[in-house]
């Protein structure tokens, strides 16, 4: 079985982002970018499935600017076999990304597509579900365990009340949650090897997909600021403040 993984280049999760003063977006020049953390988990899962003999080839895909090649090289260094960059400089909305991925799925015919559950920049949590819809496939979202079987995959999902197990007929779409695995760090030899692995660049046009955004961003603003309050010396003062000042207990 071939596995396709989608990896997004995002502002690193440690960066405290700043909103542009003209409210057109967030400042992205001179900030560190890295692979969306959930996508690292997705790639790690694919690599483990391959190591366990359940998968034969891992193809990683990113839709984004030329710099997304670095993200793809990271995935190759983790153990993916081949990469495809679908190059575009504009914003990539989940529906457009899902359409691009659908076009690639039709070419590559994977048995499973693994994505992150959420990109930590747009916080949409949509793309995997959309791809599954467009393909008419089953979806196993927010996965914390994936067990590939014969023509099926059992996915343990993190839901509001706890955990749920669903069985999906393959091919299927899975989206990775935080506790699916702990992604490995690529070793130096693997980083060197990754430089020689195939990385193909295509355009959305060549795939016949229109990636023009559907939504218009009218503005991006700072959230209301929360001021730090006071330090209390001990528990007695804390309880007094909560009872008599804040009146919450």
């Amino acid at each position: 079985m071939k596995i396709l993984c989608a990896v997004k280049r995002v502002v690193d999760y440690n960066v405290k982002i700043r909103v542009k003063t003209d409210q057109s977006g967030v400042e992205t020049s001179n900030v560190k970018f890295s692979m969306n953390p959930f996508d690292e988990i997705a790639v790690e899962e694919a690599v483990r499935l391959k190591e366990a003999g359940a998968a034969t080839e891992i193809v990683v895909v990113s839709i984004g600017p030329a710099q997304a090649q670095e993200t793809l090289r990271t995935a190759l260094a983790m153990g993916a076999d081949r990469a495809i960059l679908v190059q575009t400089d504009g914003a990539t909305e989940p529906l457009a990304v899902a359409k691009v991925l659908k076009a690639l799925v039709e070419k590559e015919a994977p048995g499973m597509v693994i994505l992150g559950k959420q990109a930590i920049d747009d916080d949409c949590n949509q793309t995997g579900q959309m791809l599954a819809a467009l393909l008419g496939w089953a979806q196993g979202t927010f996965a914390s365990k994936v067990v590939a079987g014969d023509g099926k995959v059992a996915v343990t999902r993190e839901i509001d009340g706890g955990l749920e197990v669903v069985s999906l007929t393959l091919p299927a779409v899975v989206t990775a949650d935080l506790r699916l695995n702990e992604p490995r760090y690529a070793s130096l030899p693997n980083i060197m090897k990754a430089k020689k692995k195939p990385l193909e660049t295509v355009t959305p046009d060549a795939l016949g997909v229109d990636v023009t955004p559907r939504l218009k961003t009218l503005k991006v603003a700072e959230p209301p600021k929360r001021e730090a309050g006071i330090k209390v010396p001990d528990v007695a003062v804390l309880v007094d403040k909560l009872k008599n000042e804040a009146r919450v207990i």
């Binding site: 959420q118 579900q129 955990l163 749920e164 939504l215 919450v248």
Partner: protein, 308 residues
């Protein structure tokens, strides 16, 4: 045009998230329909009919909807979509799973976790873990939107809308439910509680959580956790508060042994009053806390439990 809400429920009862979604819908129009898709879900439908502002409840009762699997529920919503201006759901694990599937099947964009309705086609939503608020506008014929429940009050009960059965399309069956392991608790639900007490890595182990639970029980509070505490196995996954866990905004949030990473703050910084207990006076959590106590939690928690 009417607005359709996908209800969140467990067949036997309606989840409070739905009442919050109804309030968001009242900001878009007055003809509000609530879809209850389930099996033996009449009790949930009757609860939905009581919510103020609801004009009609649609009940789709079929075995394929028992566990709210995305494939059949999305197919049902698509069959009902013509004639609706908006399809809404709470940003719960059901809403997040189903609505993007509906949007793609209808070939429209989706707007996730809105915190405000600006107009019928424009919405505010947090991005970058809540460090920026985007206002987005949709030109699509139907708007598919999930609601952050903490941003909208719950609609009151006291209505008596009609419950109508709807016919269900053939259910696509590429997935099936196997089992569920739900966390049982006598405490209030995290997202609906008036007081939330969360523990972090500083708790050191799951065995120490009873310290926190004893205080929670005295205050009638729900118990939450940071990702680090969940990853370490101290508490189940559904305790996680944050960017990728639950979003809470109680009257009082007490963070115990939590450093205050942006991903955690994203889930609780809209709480009315924030208390932080941490032994490191430099911990970033103090930057958002109304009352900070620099102390060893193993000393402070028992004292606090005595004092309240």
């Amino acid at each position: 045009m009417p607005i359709l809400i996908l209800a969140d429920h467990d067949n036997a009862s309606l989840k409070p998230a739905t009442a919050h979604t109804v309030t968001a819908a009242t900001k878009l129009g007055t003809d509000i329909h609530v879809l209850v898709a389930g099996r033996g879900a009449t009790p949930a439908a009757e609860e939905a009919a009581k919510l103020a502002g609801v004009a009609k409840v649609l009940l789709a009762d079929d075995a394929s909807y028992e566990h709210a699997l995305a494939e059949p529920v999305a197919a049902l919503l698509v069959s009902l979509a013509p004639g609706y201006s908006h399809i809404l759901a709470a940003a719960t694990s059901v809403g997040k799973n189903v609505l993007p599937r509906v949007a793609a099947l209808l070939d429209v964009a989706m707007i996730s976790e809105i915190t405000a309705v600006v107009s019928a086609d424009s919405f505010e939503r947090p991005i970058y873990a809540g460090n920026a608020i985007a206002t987005v506008q949709s030109a699509d014929p139907v708007k598919i939107v999930t609601i952050r429940t903490t941003a909208f009050e719950a609609a009151a009960a006291g209505n008596c809308a009609a419950v109508e059965s709807v016919t269900t399309p053939a259910a696509p069956g590429p997935s099936s439910f196997v089992s569920a392991e739900l966390t049982k608790s006598e405490r209030p639900e995290l997202t609906a509680a008036r007081i939330v007490i969360s523990g972090g890595r500083g708790m050191q182990s799951g065995e120490n959580f009873p310290l926190l639970e004893a205080l929670a029980d005295k205050l009638g509070a729900a118990v939450g956790a940071s990702r680090a505490a969940v990853d370490a196995g101290f508490v189940p996954n559904d305790y996680q508060v944050g960017q990728t866990g639950k979003i809470v905004a109680p009257e009082l949030y007490i963070a115990v042994g939590i450093s205050g990473a942006i991903q955690h703050l994203a889930g609780m910084k809209d709480s009315k009053v924030i208390v932080a207990i941490n032994k490191d006076e430099e911990a970033p959590i103090f930057q958002v806390a109304d009352y900070g106590l620099v102390a060893d939690l193993f000393k402070a928690l028992p004292e606090l439990q005595q004092a309240v």
